[in-house]
């Protein structure tokens, strides 16, 4: 599997032991593989679930509808509009003069299937493996795109809140004293603000978008890491090698980035998967309450809400429940693996 070769390239003994420990933890390692696979599929969602074919051969020429918009006239149609490949007339035209390669799922998250034989939400069938929601959208496509949005949102939110949280914690922990005191009081006040109400108020004034939600959630989520990083800095700054560095005349910046931060990042890393989890849950719950992403965007929370509104269509609720819980469980397993791998007391085997 090349694990051995990869390990040999990492010279730092601490990192090497951690990676060994992580790989030794089968559940976490497999979870990471599964999660990465799902995530990559999610990133390529346009190729997996789309209402346009990936490849069209028309009169001997290749077309790539996923990447480029073609007019119906290009395929011998009558209107100068973007081609509607589900239209039986167009389909007929193309298949007469060539062929089409469709994605696995022939619908996007916002494609409305007008050819349903039953009123939406339609139960699982040959065309819609997981059924449709009450707007006639394919559930499988919704899940795929929703998963991507959730994870991306979670990752971006995690990255930003980590950067802010680590910086704030580092400054407090390293310099200590009055600065620390004032900062701590500010954080106490800030964290006692009722976050949910603020979000409700803000989203009722401005139409929420991906970016706005990110900023609003970031306002509160950066707090989670400050305490940990601050405590780590307070601890590590008393280590003798830090004293030695100060005695060498090394600047504060270098000490922070070279000596303390890498040691403090240990606990930060163990928190990351859980923060990611929390971020995903935050978005999902806002969507579920209808305060999240604008209508029409793919969202697991919105699907969950639909499941609740359409109890007669259990496939909605069940699918979204399974997807959300599998996703969160995978992240928790990965998180546990990382936490254990970073635990200095745990040896291999």
């Amino acid at each position: 599997m090349g694990e051995g070769r990869m390990l040999k390239r990492i010279k730092n003994p601490v990192s090497r032991r951690r990676i060994q420990n992580f790989i030794g933890n089968r559940r976490a390692y497999i979870s990471l593989y599964v999660f990465l696979t799902l995530f990559i599929i999610g990133l390529l969602a346009e190729l997996v679930a789309n209402d346009k074919p990936i490849l069209v051969s028309f009169q001997g020429k290749l077309h790539f509808p996923v990447f480029k918009a073609y007019l119906e006239t290009d395929f011998g149609g009558d209107f100068e509009i973007e081609t509607e490949y589900h239209d039986p007339y167009i389909r007929g035209l193309i298949e007469e003069n060539g062929w089409m390669l469709w994605p696995v799922i022939r619908f996007r998250y916002d494609t409305i299937d007008y050819e349903l034989d039953v009123p939406a939400p339609a139960p699982p069938s040959r065309t819609h493996l997981l059924g449709t929601d009450d707007g006639g959208h394919d559930v499988a496509a919704l899940i795929l795109y929703g998963f991507r949005v959730s994870v991306l949102f979670g990752i971006v939110l995690t990255i930003f809140s980590t950067i802010i949280g680590v910086t704030a914690g580092a400054v407090q922990g390293y310099f200590g004293g009055l600065l620390d005191l004032i900062f701590q009081r500010f954080i106490e006040m800030w964290s006692s603000l009722p976050a949910l109400y603020l979000i409700i108020i803000i989203t009722s004034i401005i139409q929420p978008t991906f970016g706005l939600l990110l900023v609003v959630l970031l306002l509160f989520r950066w707090l989670s890491l400050v305490g940990v990083v601050r405590a780590e800095f307070l601890r590590v700054r008393n280590f003798e090698f830090v004293k030695a560095a100060r005695a060498l005349g090394v600047s504060n910046r270098t000490i922070i980035f070279r000596h303390i931060l890498p040691n403090a990042m240990v606990s930060t890393f163990t928190f990351l998967p859980f923060i990611l989890n929390g971020s995903i849950i935050a978005l999902t719950s806002l969507d579920f309450l209808g305060l999240g992403l604008p209508p029409g965007s793919p969202s697991l929370g919105r699907l969950l809400a639909q499941g609740k509104a359409n109890l007669q269509a259990p496939w909605l609720g069940i699918t979204s429940f399974v997807v959300i819980s599998v996703m969160l469980s995978l992240l928790v397993f990965i998180g546990e693996g990382i936490r254990d791998a970073f635990d200095p007391r745990r040896q291999l085997g």
Binding site: L248, G249, G349
Partner: protein
């Protein structure tokens, strides 16, 4: 019949995929009423042996013990847990090295001791209490009755060790195992605890199984000794015979590695490199709701010291005496009041930006070679750090050359540059620390107990290295230590401090020959009394 009879004892530890042998088939006997010592350097397998006798090896990591351990003729290896527990409670008592961690911090002294009384001897509560007081009196803990309700953190290190001993004695064991019982204690307290152990052993006709790295303790305490190296006993015999006529070369090597000699004596004018005048470090104590300063802990209370070129000042004191704080204050790593003159230049009040260039010339080597090197950096990066901070060496090739040069100078191979600290032994790590300081070509070095975490034989090597470097570079040393024997080997002058105040100060020879203050006398007595071979006049 022997009280304890060990035959072919073997223990290994699981490490990753492989096994590392810790004890490789050792055999020894302990007679009734006898004091037997196992002596050896760290990693020799002494403690593992003691733990095997108590069946206290970590079950998941340890393989074994195999072989035979007979106590009162009963086999302990493979005996059922129930039986071993009974022997642990009644037959064998054990004292551990670290009195800080071997007592439960949440239990009172009474609870710690009476626990085993109530468990094994089926005493009533009142009886147990009376006996606990009795035990505390036996171990000479002052105010035994009042101490019953004390918690471990309210006791000093020596007192804790006494409580530990009382616990071990509670059920009148026939065999007392003492695993480095005094290593974590100050010299004066060490002497008291050893005396107590010796007394108790004779009074109760116990056998004593002593584990130590210190040959002087062996000489003072034991009847017979086994010398251990790499999991094997290389030599066993009567203490007197071993010391006067060691049979094995390793025993001779151990005996020879006691720090000896002195740095020589010379007069003649030398430049003063660093001078502190009435240096004080006070830590404020905050009290009350408003956290107002209600007093100060006077860590360093007015110390005046001069360190000259090419000379060493030994700063001696017991733990908590403020010696490390003083060293850090001299380097302005701790804020202080009073005056610090470096080459006649006042350092107090200088902006830290202005101090930074001076850091190049004033360096420090810390005590713990495991904590003072960042585990994530290679040796090269560690030594390079100071060069970068002071922009020495314009190109990386030039810096590389400087690093290789300094590694060679401290006795390390230049090829070690890409290795990480964990690949080195304690002594080698300490050499890396010295290289880190030395690469800047300082003029003044604070050596904060650089040898106390090391084995005796390694200590001697490091001392030799320090002496060599001093001569070659005309370095001024401030050598901080609690170990008078090491101080004597290195220092031209000695400053004895207690509770932040100088007790006595002067030429090393003068102080050892003719100590004036009673505290100095106690220190010297405690440190050298153990060396029964030396007479008082031979201290220097």
């Amino acid at each position: 019949m022997n009280l304890l009879r060990v035959r072919g004892l073997e223990v290994s530890f699981r490490m990753g995929e492989g096994e590392v042998p810790a004890v490789r088939g050792i055999s020894f006997d302990i007679e009734k009423g006898e004091a037997f010592a196992l002596v050896g350097e760290s990693g020799a397998g002494k403690s593992v042996t003691a733990l095997s006798v108590m069946s206290l090896l970590p079950p998941k990591k340890a393989i074994g013990p195999s072989g035979s351990i007979l106590f009162r003729g009963k086999e302990l290896v493979g005996a059922p847990e129930e039986e071993i527990r009974k022997i642990r409670g009644e037959g064998i008592g054990m004292i551990f090295q670290e009195p800080m961690t071997s007592l439960n911090p949440l239990h009172t002294v009474e609870k710690q001791i009476s626990e085993s009384l109530l468990l094994y001897a089926e005493h009533s509560r009142d009886e147990a209490r009376a006996q606990t007081i009795e035990l505390l009196k036996i171990v000479r803990l002052p105010d035994a009755e009042q101490r019953l309700s004390s918690y471990p953190h309210q006791l000093s290190g020596g007192q804790r060790q006494r409580v530990m001993i009382a616990m071990a004695l509670a059920n009148e064991p026939e065999l007392l195992i003492a695993d480095e019982p005094t290593t974590a204690l100050d010299v004066t307290i060490q002497a008291e605890i050893l005396e107590l152990l010796k007394d108790l052993q004779q009074r109760f006709d116990m056998s004593l199984f002593l584990i130590t790295h210190d040959l002087n303790i062996v000489r003072r305490m034991a009847d017979r000794v086994g010398v251990m190296r790499n999991g094997e006993i290389v030599e066993t015999g009567d203490v007197e015979r071993i010391f006067s006529d060691p049979g094995h070369e390793y025993t001779r090597y151990l005996l020879e590695s006691e720090p000896k000699g002195t740095p020589g004596f010379e007069t003649g004018e030398r430049n003063i490199v660093v001078r502190s005048e009435n240096l004080k470090v006070y830590f404020p104590v905050y009290r009350g709701i408003l956290r107002r300063v209600k007093g100060y802990v006077k860590a360093v209370d007015g110390i005046t010291v001069e360190v000259k070129e090419g000379r060493t000042v030994g700063l001696v004191g017991e733990s908590g005496s403020g010696k490390t704080t003083f060293g850090l204050a001299l380097l302005r790593l701790v804020s202080s009041s009073g005056s610090i003159l470096y080459e006649g230049r006042e350092l107090q009040g200088l902006k830290s930006r202005r101090v930074r260039p001076l850091r190049r010339e004033m360096q420090v080597v810390f005590q713990d070679p495991y904590e003072s090197l960042n585990p994530r950096l290679t040796v090269g990066q560690i030594v390079d750090e100071g060069l970068r901070a002071h922009r020495i060496g314009r190109t990386s090739d030039e810096r590389l050359r400087l690093i290789e040069e300094v590694l060679d100078e401290v006795g390390l191979k230049p090829s070690y540059i890409h290795r990480y600290p964990h690949e080195f032994s304690g002594g080698e790590r300490q050499r890396i620390s010295i290289a880190r300081a030395l690469v800047l070509r300082p003029r003044f070095l604070v050596l904060d107990e650089p040898t106390s975490a090391l084995d005796r034989s390694i200590q001697t090597q490091i001392i030799d290295l320090l002496l060599q470097l001093q001569k070659r570079h005309n370095l001024a040393y401030l050598f901080i230590s609690h170990d008078l024997r090491v101080v004597r080997a290195l220092s031209h002058e000695i400053v004895v401090i207690r509770e932040g105040v100088v007790v006595e100060q002067g030429e090393t020879r003068e102080i050892f020959k003719n100590p004036k203050h009673s505290y100095t006398k106690t220190l010297i007595k405690a440190a050298f009394e153990l060396e029964s071979g030396e007479k008082k006049s031979d201290y220097y």
